[in-house]
């Protein structure tokens, strides 16, 4: 399995998804060598972690997501492209001495190495797409080099796994890959790993006092970029508030769009009731999930959307855009098209003014989100392994 990161050295969701997936596959008997571009200690006993370089994790500080800076030198004088070349070299070396049944590559980051395995060594290639460059570009064009890598890798792959039907459509439409070569493998969520969060209401006196006064707390957590559709969310929130003033919107996260979002909420006259928390993670993130009544995922294009599951785990009602992968598997949620601010407003208004709707949504999603563990995803992927393994 070709990966780019694993917790705790991860910069985002890719490492987490790979970890859970590999763990479930290993539990079901798959023998996995997990290749990483850096060398570090991982507390992992279910598979072999293989470093492709001798670099430490600090050399990877550019992260997996910012595709615009692939040629910039990192901390140790190596750019992402250079590390990818080393990674590819290592795969050659590795396949010279080791026998593998199939190669499972995650995202464009490792796809070139996967192509080397396929082309030069004839190893079956399964390409797993967590996000395409079109998603990362958020409506923009994205990096043409990465498009090229994605196109070639997906063409060469024996099978493509997409994290959602939405991603599958993008791969079909934008890269011209035939649909019958692509399988949808939605991500999973292991509720047990999350346990119970001991939320302490006394830490959030202001929000809790609003709540006691009967206010509905609406929250979203995201990088503040155009892709996440938060401008539309503020629009819809402002319209809903005209009918039902007892609402507060909490926006957790940071990003280049923050100042613009502040300006939008001031222009709409709701800045008093829109709170920006800045970048948060861990305990504080879980607190936000716990303090809110409704969680909105407003993305214009969201290949999957793990945050929806996290919010459901903390007992929030969900509103998701139809442009999100999570919305394909979570049925007990209200959905809207990201640009349809009127429908969003109607939804927020009804949830805020009807305790019954809110209660039933929370209750039902609370039962549903646990039914999609990684084990089920692993079954589907094992099936692909059996199909392609040499």
């Amino acid at each position: 399995m070709l990966g780019w990161e694993l917790p705790p050295h991860n910069s985002g969701g890719l490492g987490v998804a790979c970890y859970h997936l590999a763990e479930s596959l290993a539990k079901k008997g798959a023998n996995i060598s997990f290749v990483l571009p850096y060398d570090a200690d991982h507390d992992v006993d279910f598979m072999e972690v293989v470093p492709a370089t001798t670099l430490g994790p600090a050399a990877m500080k550019f992260g997996s997501y910012d595709s615009r800076t692939v040629d910039e030198k990192g901390e140790f004088g190596l750019s992402m492209r250079e590390i990818q070349r080393l990674y590819g070299e290592f795969i050659r070396e590795y396949l010279e001495r080791e026998e593998v049944d199939a190669v499972h590559a995650h995202d464009w980051l490792t796809l070139e190495a996967g192509v080397i395995a396929r082309k030069e060594y004839g190893v079956p290639l399964i390409a797993h797409v967590h996000a395409t460059e079109f998603d990362r570009a958020g409506g923009g064009l994205g990096n043409p080099l990465i498009h090229e890598i994605e196109r070639e890798g997906l063409m060469m792959a024996d099978e493509v796994l997409a994290v959602s039907g939405l991603t599958k459509r993008i791969i079909e439409e934008r890269y011209g890959i035939p649909g019958d070569k692509i399988r949808v493998a939605h991500n999973g969520f292991n509720a047990n790993d999350w346990g119970v969060h001991d939320y302490d209401p006394s830490r959030y006196k202001y929000l809790e006092s609003l709540r006691r006064q009967g206010r509905t707390i609406v929250a979203t957590t995201a990088r503040l970029t155009v892709q996440k559709g938060i401008g539309y969310l503020i629009d819809g929130f402002a319209v809903a508030r005209e009918r039902h003033p007892e609402m507060t919107l909490v926006i957790a996260g940071d990003g280049e769009q923050r100042d613009e979002l502040l300006r939008i909420s001031a222009e709409k006259g709701v800045s008093e009731d829109v709170l920006f928390t800045g970048f948060i993670r861990g305990r504080e993130l879980r607190d936000i999930y716990s303090v809110c009544d409704v969680f909105v995922m407003s993305s214009c294009s969201e290949p999957f959307g793990l945050t929806a599951f996290e919010a459901a785990h903390h007992d929030a009602a969900l509103i998701l855009t139809r442009q999100s992968g999570a919305g394909e598997v979570l049925h007990n949620a209200l959905k809207y098209d990201y640009w349809d601010t009127h429908r969003l407003a109607d939804t927020l208004y009804n949830i805020a003014s009807s305790p019954g709707l809110q209660r039933d949504m929370r209750r039902s999603i609370g039962r549903e989100y646990t039914k999609l563990p990684w084990d089920k995803v692993a079954d589907l992927i094992l099936n692909s392994y059996w199909r392609w393994a040499r």
């Binding site: 007990n332 009804n350 009807s354 039902s364």
Partner: protein, 394 residues
């Protein structure tokens, strides 16, 4: 000789279109759905009319005119409204059936509502409206009462007795019947005249649920087999009560399943074997064998045979409470259209669409609904009720 009383029910709700909060106070066209929504009442009615109502009614008329067949029909007021608007030919067929004098009409609420549980005054009004519609169109008076979804309890039994009905229908489930047999006629405690008729839900659901179920060991259900089942179900002095929705024929089970031929052959062979059909009204002439007590409401809803498909979750309670909280304000306005809109919203389907019971169960089967989720349904119906409240000056 064995006896079967067959009741067929015709009903279609008025579905609420995707009615948003921006429509509240602006327009009140809740039931005029645009073409791309699954709430198009006209489209649905005409489709079911073509697939089910028309072929079935034609067959019933033919069987009534040419054989000794007898049947009981339940026709909701909202079904009539839609038939009059879009398919008056169905009403003519019903009138031809009535002319044979072998048909009994069932009494019910005009709006297919659960008013009985929330407002006895409104319940009485809706029953009266229905009886008047029956009189006007078919010249007959319903003598047997069948509440929405077969919802029944002792209170309803006594109510029917007081109103002078000859009979009242209930689901023949075990927790009411106990060790008794469903084919006999009973009476509610303290009732003077009214008889209690118990539907045989197993025999009824052999057709409605299992006719196309290939995993059922009785599949395929032939007319011969069903004659045997019905003969085995009752003693000579019993009347086996079979109750079915008309849509079972042609809609839930398409014509290609052979359901129409099955029905025709069953009716013919049942009589050829020396057995006969009765209407529910005929059945009430039998002597009541015992009193049956039923304190908790039972219904014909599959599974739990209680109200839980309509009144379980918080959304359903919120909607129904809002509906009946508006009663006084709506009726004080003396605005016919407003009252009609308010009543159309009382259709039990508007509660069924909100059920989260089977929504997305383990097999990922999503129940039949005009909406994507129960929550969407709630938003549209609640918005419509808000508009009703606005029009009523609330």
């Amino acid at each position: 000789m064995k006896t079967v009383a067959l009741s067929l029910h015709m009903h279609q709700p008025w579905r609420v279109r995707h009615y948003s909060m921006f429509d509240i106070g602006q327009k009140s066209d809740y039931f005029d759905s645009p073409a791309f929504q699954r709430t198009q009442n006209k489209y649905i009615f005409e489709k079911v009319a073509e697939r089910s109502y028309r072929p079935m009614l034609e067959m019933l008329v033919e069987l009534l005119e040419t054989t000794d067949f007898r049947v009981s029909l339940g026709v909701s007021g909202v079904w009539l409204e839609q038939a009059m608007a879009w398919r008056p030919d169905l009403i003519e067929l019903l009138q031809r059936a009535m002319k044979t004098r072998r048909v009994a009409l069932l009494g019910e609420t005009y709006y297919h509502s659960l008013a009985f549980l929330y407002s006895s005054l409104e319940f009485d009004r809706q029953v009266k409206m229905h009886a008047e519609a029956m009189k006007k169109l078919f010249g007959a008076k319903p003598r047997v009462f069948c509440n929405t979804g077969l919802a029944y309890n002792d209170r309803l039994g006594l109510w029917a007795d007081r109103k002078g009905y000859a009979g009242v229908m209930a689901e023949g489930c075990e927790n009411v019947l106990g060790w008794r047999r469903g084919g006999y006629v009973y009476k509610p405690p303290k009732a003077k005249r009214v008889k209690l008729l118990m539907r045989d839900y197993r025999l009824s659901e052999d057709v409605s649920k299992r006719f196309s179920d290939q995993s059922w060991d009785g599949w395929p259900l032939t007319a011969e087999k069903y004659v045997e089942f019905c003969e085995a179900a009752g003693e000579a002095d019993e009347v086996v009560q079979i109750g079915l929705d008309m849509e079972v024929f042609g809609e839930h089970n398409g014509a290609e399943t052979g359901i129409f031929e099955f029905f025709r052959h069953f009716v013919e062979q049942w009589q050829a074997a020396g057995n006969r059909f009765l209407t529910v009204e005929d059945a009430t002439k039998k002597r009541a064998t015992a009193e049956l007590t039923c304190q908790e409401t039972v219904t014909g809803a599959d599974g739990e045979r209680d109200l839980s498909g309509w009144l379980e979750n918080a959304m359903q309670h919120e909607i129904i409470e809002k509906i009946y909280a508006l009663e006084e304000a709506v009726l004080l306005r003396k605005d016919k259209e407003l009252a009609s809109d308010w009543r159309r919203l009382q259709c039990v389907e508007n509660l069924y669409f909100l059920s989260t019971k089977d929504f997305n169960d383990d097999d990922g089967v999503i129940k039949m609904s005009a909406y994507d989720t129960p929550y969407d349904a709630f938003i549209y119906i609640m918005n419509a009720l808000r508009d009703v409240g606005y029009r009523a000056g609330e």
